[in-house]
Symmetry: C3
Subunit: 348 residues, 3 copies
């Protein structure tokens, strides 16, 4: 693991630091979790809970929320950085000094000899193309972007700057991936949508899909996801939206900005979701509906009608969260209710 001096860290991130405490001597060589604080590490603390453990540890440096400051004895052997957002500061520190992911490894050659790059493709000089990757006709790959080993970028696709396509990813023809995006392994962007015409004998005929998938800037897509291209218009994921593993977004799905969509989400075709959408695991959204901005739905819920009011929802059928929680609680009592009603009916 790399190492960095406490002083350098203090200097580097001074804009995010509200105050600090301690000697700032020594070099940090790893990042610890609260559960297992290792020697010479940085550890971070978002709340008072855990303070005792930190105080008795052999960490070097603590990144703590400023509300924790009053709990720190002046004689602490540790060095302390206080800030408003320790989680974000830690993310920045890890990204700058402790990024273990090899796909940015500076020693990687820019063009793996076994990559197949079409002569008409426009690949920025600073972009890395991994072994066995396929870059089709007229593909564009921007500055500092990375295409992992054995990934496929089909013809006319565009990859912006500073974007990481992990290994074994498929990007279909003509799709557009923005800047600062990240796509994890085994994800399929731009597969043919599930659209069929039917004849009178119930045979099904694929409707070829000519729409694209567009991922705006700062979009992340987890592993083993499927995002289908639009039938005629495009499937579009808004800036800053982060999608977890094993999500399915059907043709012509539209999702707004800064959404947080957790794993195993499913979205049928031609629905539109607004900005700041948050969904719990295994939630589903049916086709041809609209969900307004600032909606949150709980895990395993199913949305089958448009949502016009911002707020928290859950369940299947979907209810406002407070109502759904009552329904869920009552559900476990259903056999008892049934018994009580049966007894009442006998009496009446």
């Amino acid at each position: 693991m790399p190492s960095v001096s406490c002083l350098e860290l203090q200097q580097q991130f001074k804009d995010q630091i509200t105050s600090s405490l301690g000697s700032f001597t020594g070099d940090v060589d790893n990042v610890s979790s609260l559960e297992n604080i290792r020697a010479n590490s940085i550890v971070y603390l978002t709340q008072e809970k855990g303070m005792d453990k930190v105080l008795h540890s052999s960490a070097l440096l603590v990144i703590a929320h400023e509300k924790c400051k009053s709990l720190v004895p002046t004689a602490s052997h540790l060095s302390w950085i206080f800030c408003k957002n320790p989680e974000l500061l830690m993310a920045n520190i890890k990204k700058t000094y402790f990024l273990a992911t090899p796909y940015r490894a500076p020693h990687m050659s820019l063009r793996a000899p076994s990559a197949i790059i079409h002569e008409s493709a426009l690949v920025a000089e600073s972009a890395v193309i991994g072994p066995g990757a396929f870059i089709g006709e007229k593909v564009y790959v921007g500055q500092n972007s990375f295409v992992g080993a054995n990934s496929i970028i089909e013809e006319n696709a565009k990859i912006g700057d500073n974007t990481t396509i992990h290994p074994l990813v498929y990007i279909g023809h003509s799709c557009e991936i923005g800047d600062n995006c990240e796509i994890l392994p085994h994800t399929c962007i731009g597969s043919e949508g599930y659209g069929y015409a039917h004849d009178e004998r119930w045979n099904h005929y694929r409707i070829p899909h000519s729409g694209k998938v567009i991922l705006k800037n700062d979009v992340h897509v987890g592993a083993n996801c499927s995002i289908d291209r639009g039938s005629i218009e495009d499937t579009v994921i808004g800036q800053g939206t982060k999608i977890d593993n094993q999500c399915h977004l059907a043709h012509n799905s539209i999702i707004g900005k800064n959404g947080l969509i957790t794993a195993q989400f499913g979205m049928a075709g031609s629905s539109t979701i607004g900005d700041n959408f948050v969904s719990g695991g295994k939630a589903s959204v049916t086709g041809h509906i609209t969900i307004t901005n600032n909606v949150q739905i709980s895990g395993m819920s199913g949305v089958t009608k448009s949502i016009t009011e911002p707020g928290q929802y859950g369940g299947f059928p979907l209810q406002k969260l407070q109502d759904y929680l009552k329904t869920k609680a009552a559900l476990a009592k259903l056999p008892e209710l049934r018994e009580q009603l049966r007894n009442l009916l006998k009496k009446n």
Copy 2:
């Protein structure tokens, strides 16, 4: 994009056209959706709704259901084709003239130099094998079929004619894929089924699976699907069945003809489903049951017992659709019911 004259389209598909209207001058160079009708495009209209928008558009050609004909003014500046099945006609037009998918691109070399093709494999001269694809011992690939980049076809597998295996697909040894099939990226056909023998200490031992997966003709499988090979007998998907993304079909699943199975479907082992099965998103079918022909189940439902009567079903527990809809409606009222019952009990 390619272009085609209105007259050629009228001529080419005359068998499906019941009548037409307009001058049929000019060349169409794209396909529009109703939401965004572009100049010089074809647009299609399955119902009267949308007619106004079409009439005021700068499209060139309209493919409309014949029931829309009476709404078209004789002085329309557009050219009109009327037919019984505009969706199917549009699918045919797109397939013939506007297929943007590059895997059929005429300029693709038939054998990518980096493909690994075993010397004993029998690959039709007209078949295309993409870069990095692996074609194992004694594999057969039929006329005009396509194996995408970095896909794996293991030994003794058979791929029929006119079948498209997209990039990054896995076809396990000895599996059989019919004619006119399509398999989307990251799909796994012929993985080992989840079958274990257990000893008295609750250790689990894989039972090697010697059955195949057989996809009959005209089967489509979406992206990121998993279809396990049979334990001893085969897993079989019937002719014309279309499977959406992220579906899981366990060992010895049998599915009939012309099914429509939408995304995130799960089917445990050794169950049999009849013809014309339709399932909504995230539905599940347990193991060792039988579902008769012509059954439809709604999204997120779970089938745990055999279904012997054709019809529509939903829910978990599964009910006839009309009953399930009542259950679903009542569920949201459950806290209210609980309250009412509580009040009644106080009185009694």
Copy 3:
């Protein structure tokens, strides 16, 4: 298919055989299921049911539970092996004589010419590396292990002995896979976990994940699974646990020994599951909870609170299995209950 003499089978597995019957002449050349007993095959029988069919078949050899012995006529034309665990004995026979999977094919070259193996990688001489596979810097691959075509093993990862990585698998940097493991196609081990820091304007920033994924010995992972690396500490799957297709295990998931986790399971971050866990299809476990040893949960259930008592559970909300089954039964009666209550209210 290979063939083997009945006598050799009897000799080879004598430790598992409690008694036998018949002439043991002839060679077996295939394994049959009870549904379709082929000539010259072995068939196995775990219970009395099916005996008639076996007795009238042209199989050569029957592997039967010893409780079936009394039903076999002394004049049977078949040869019989009786044992306590026919399923396990069959698994051993198939593995030894009838393993059709080509990834162990003895004729495979040990190093495919198109594999990319970093010069610093340590690959055992007996290990097989398939075409197009990528073996990164300082990777270790143990004795008799197999890395399938186009799979990616990133830098510093360790693969133990006798482990099979099927084609098109991704193993992220620094992950550790034990001995006798098996990972099916399109599975992603060590993707970045879904962890973000947020600023005051609701922008999300990836927290780089420095933890590993560790699969202990004898772990199997199905096709199209996603197992995320830990944020700081590791994601760990215990010895002997078998995971079915399309399962998602988020960062810092901990699972004990000998679990059986069936398809489409989802597990949010930082939860811990004990030994011998069994889950039905599409079950879910929320984040930051603990499930004790010896817990079984039924299909489609959702666990949102820690489970401290061993036992069987089901539903969402989760209940003890016996209670859940009552709730499930009552649910289908809910419209009727609502009607009865309505009538009662009218009277009162």
